[in-house]
């Protein structure tokens, strides 16, 4: 899949809100790409744009292309889109408790997708649902298939969501903060599960998260977003070992690490993420919080430039970022 210059704007009382403003990235088969950033940086909106699930009004995809399996999914009809949604591209949402329907058994909910996309009859779909639950490691699926969502723990609910996402063997799964509502031990189980399933079915994965540890462990490449735009992208190792954008560096340095001796103080990115409605689109959005900001940052907007193979950064001062590391 290729996302080219995607722009999704929201029109609200305060004016035009550029939630995603010129996002370009691509994902290969079997690749796991991470979208990283803080809340309201546009990472979830960019995922919903791929599925064309942006609520209109107030939101609208104003431009760009999303080429998926040879077609621009922003140009196809709603009917065709429905075939792709849940079929070729599936999504795992953040909160399983609010994404599952509380009054339907999980059998109904998993079978629905199967009956719709793969035109199975009710009985085959139910059998397939049991298989899917087995696949995601649900104990005793034959008995539990007729239970309701509230009878499962958070981790199990998220497994059900994963089973539903897998039901039509999609070629792309978008996981939006799949583990924020569960504990670390369950988080490890779920992510290992997603990772194994990727190997088994050759699925590509877009994982949206703010947890840099998860990204380091599972992603092949990383896209760092800030205020609706990419500020840095590249292979995971390059991003962690040689971050070139001050924001990426700040993010990495502001998380305490278990493997290093304790630091007296964490380094802190000062200030708050910007209000998107008041953002000036012609300057660098990070400059008010940036230690390296110079005059130019307040006059022009940096574009992504290649700093090494596959590694792109949008910063005028990217060659001076190492200086920050030395200063601590």
């Amino acid at each position: 899949m290729d996302v080219k210059n995607l722009r999704t704007y929201f029109y609200v009382k305060e004016g035009e809100l550029r939630a995603v403003d010129g996002l370009t990235y691509s994902i290969k088969q079997r690749e796991c790409v991470a979208l990283v950033g803080e809340s309201a940086c546009g990472k979830s909106v960019s995922a919903l744009s791929i599925l064309r699930l942006i609520p209109y009004p107030p939101g609208i995809i104003v431009g760009g292309e999303i080429i998926f399996e040879g077609r621009d999914i922003l140009k196809i009809s709603e009917e065709e889109m429905r075939q792709i949604r849940g079929g070729r591209i599936a999504m795992v949402f953040q909160e399983p408790m609010t994404s599952l329907n509380p009054v339907l058994t999980i059998n109904r909910q998993i079978s629905e997708t199967l009956q719709l996309h793969l035109s199975m009859d009710k009985e085959t779909a139910a059998l397939e649902a049991v298989n899917l639950l087995k696949l995601v490691g649900m104990p005793d699926p034959e008995r539990r298939i007729n239970d309701y969502p509230h009878q499962f723990s958070g981790g199990m609910q998220q497994r059900i969501m994963i089973a539903m996402a897998l039901s039509c063997k999609p070629s792309l799964i978008i996981a939006d903060e799949p583990t924020t509502s569960v504990d670390v031990t369950v988080q490890a189980q779920l992510l290992d599960l997603i990772n194994n399933l990727r190997d088994q079915f050759n699925t590509s994965i877009i994982i949206i998260t703010h947890n840099l540890g998860i990204v380091a462990r599972y992603a092949d490449s990383v896209n760092v977003m800030y205020a609706g735009r990419l500020v840095e992208k590249g292979p995971t190792n390059a991003i962690y070992e040689n971050p070139r954008h001050p924001y990426t560096l700040g993010l990495i340095a502001s998380v305490p690490r278990l493997d290093l001796p304790r630091k007296k103080n964490l380094s802190v990115i000062k200030g708050l993420p910007p209000n998107l409605a008041r953002l000036v689109p012609t300057v660098c959005a990070f400059s008010p919080r940036c230690k390296l900001a110079v005059d130019r940052c307040n006059k022009e907007r940096p574009e992504l430039e290649m700093v090494e193979k596959d590694h792109y950064v949008a910063c005028f001062r990217s060659s001076e970022v190492n200086q920050l590391v030395e200063d601590g």
Binding site: T185, V186, A188, N237, I252, P256, L258, R262, N265, V268
Partner: protein
């Protein structure tokens, strides 16, 4: 545990919540939220408390603050048994212990201004009036790095990080000695999280506070705590100083918990040994026999399902509850 400098001493605390069912409203079982916990917190230290959701960390924090009537055991604060206090002496004591909540969106009254929220404890305890009150509110706002003029704004006008600062200012209003921080940063973004952690550490130094820091993020707990206690199903399974716990975890649960945390450095993370726990935390209504952790334990052996392990000292400050140590 007879140190003179112990501020909070928790002895064999149990907190069982009854499960009531049927038309007769009969008690059919207990939720053993906190099950025989003993620990102490020294003056000026930060004790971290970690564990998965539902393990009783929050309940323990609230038992210490006497927000629940504990089923059995003692909580001794500055040499005074809190269970014996009632009325005015208890109110006076409450001034010295405060709570910072997890969710900065749910914990602030949307109809009160930031100033009123922060000043309310001052009025409740009769600590300030008139100009003195306004000065103190302004001072508290600047302590948490907000501007005094923000006192007139309402909670919805603040961001998550700023709201958490208001919560902290309110907790500091009566100049407490002890603060229970219940997941104070888990609802915040990474960059804001670091700001709040720094604020909490600075305040501790400046105001010589003592913290009980409850969180599920092990890296954050390690960063901020002097000692760390690990809880599982209402019991403390391991407690020691922070560096020791992370360098040399002894309890299989601690080991699994630590190995589950991904390290934000791909080259380091790939080399780590991982212990993946299977299943979920069992129900505290009907806990497993013997050691509560044995059904999920990778070191489980004969006898683990029969006897409940005691918290044993294995040298220095290091205490572990495991048969296999």
């Amino acid at each position: 545990m007879s140190d003179i400098d112990v501020l909070v001493d928790v002895k064999n605390v149990r907190m069982f919540f009854p499960v009531i069912a049927g038309v007769m409203r009969r008690k059919i079982a207990d939720v053993r939220a906190v099950d025989d916990v003993s620990l102490f917190i020294r003056k000026g230290e930060t004790l971290g408390l970690v564990g998965e959701s539902g393990c009783g960390k929050t309940t323990l924090g609230r038992c210490i603050l006497k927000l629940y009537k504990i089923t059995s055991g003692e909580v001794i604060f500055e040499g005074v048994d809190l269970a014996k206090l009632r009325g005015e002496p208890l109110r006076k004591m409450r001034r010295h212990m405060q709570l910072i909540f997890q969710d900065p969106y749910a914990s602030l009254d949307p109809r009160m201004t930031a100033g009123d929220i922060i000043g309310e404890p001052l009025l409740a305890h009769n600590l300030a009036k008139g100009q003195q009150y306004h000065d103190r509110v302004a001072e508290l706002l600047s302590i948490v790095e907000l501007e005094p003029r923000m006192a007139l704004r309402y909670p919805h006008e603040f961001s998550g990080g700023q709201r958490q600062r208001i919560g902290i200012a309110r907790a500091l209003a009566c100049r407490p000695k002890f603060i229970v921080c219940d997941e104070p940063v888990s609802a915040l973004d990474v960059s804001i999280q670091a700001q709040i952690i720094k604020l909490l550490t600075d305040l501790k130094e400046e105001l010589s506070l003592t913290y009980l820091f409850i969180a599920h993020d092990l890296s954050v707990v390690r960063h901020i705590s002097d000692r760390v206690a690990v809880m599982y199903l209402g019991k403390i399974v391991e407690i020691t100083n922070s560096d020791e716990l992370y360098a040399n975890p002894v309890h299989p649960y601690t080991q699994a918990l630590l190995s589950a945390v991904p390290i934000p450095a791909p080259s380091v993370d790939r080399l780590r040994k991982r212990i993946v726990l299977t299943g979920d935390v069992p129900s505290p209504i009907n806990p497993p026999s013997g050691c509560y952790f044995h059904p999920r334990c990778h070191k489980c052996a004969d006898g683990c399902n029969e006897k409940d392990p005691e918290l044993k000292n294995i040298g220095g400050e290091h205490w572990v509850a495991c048969h296999r140590v």
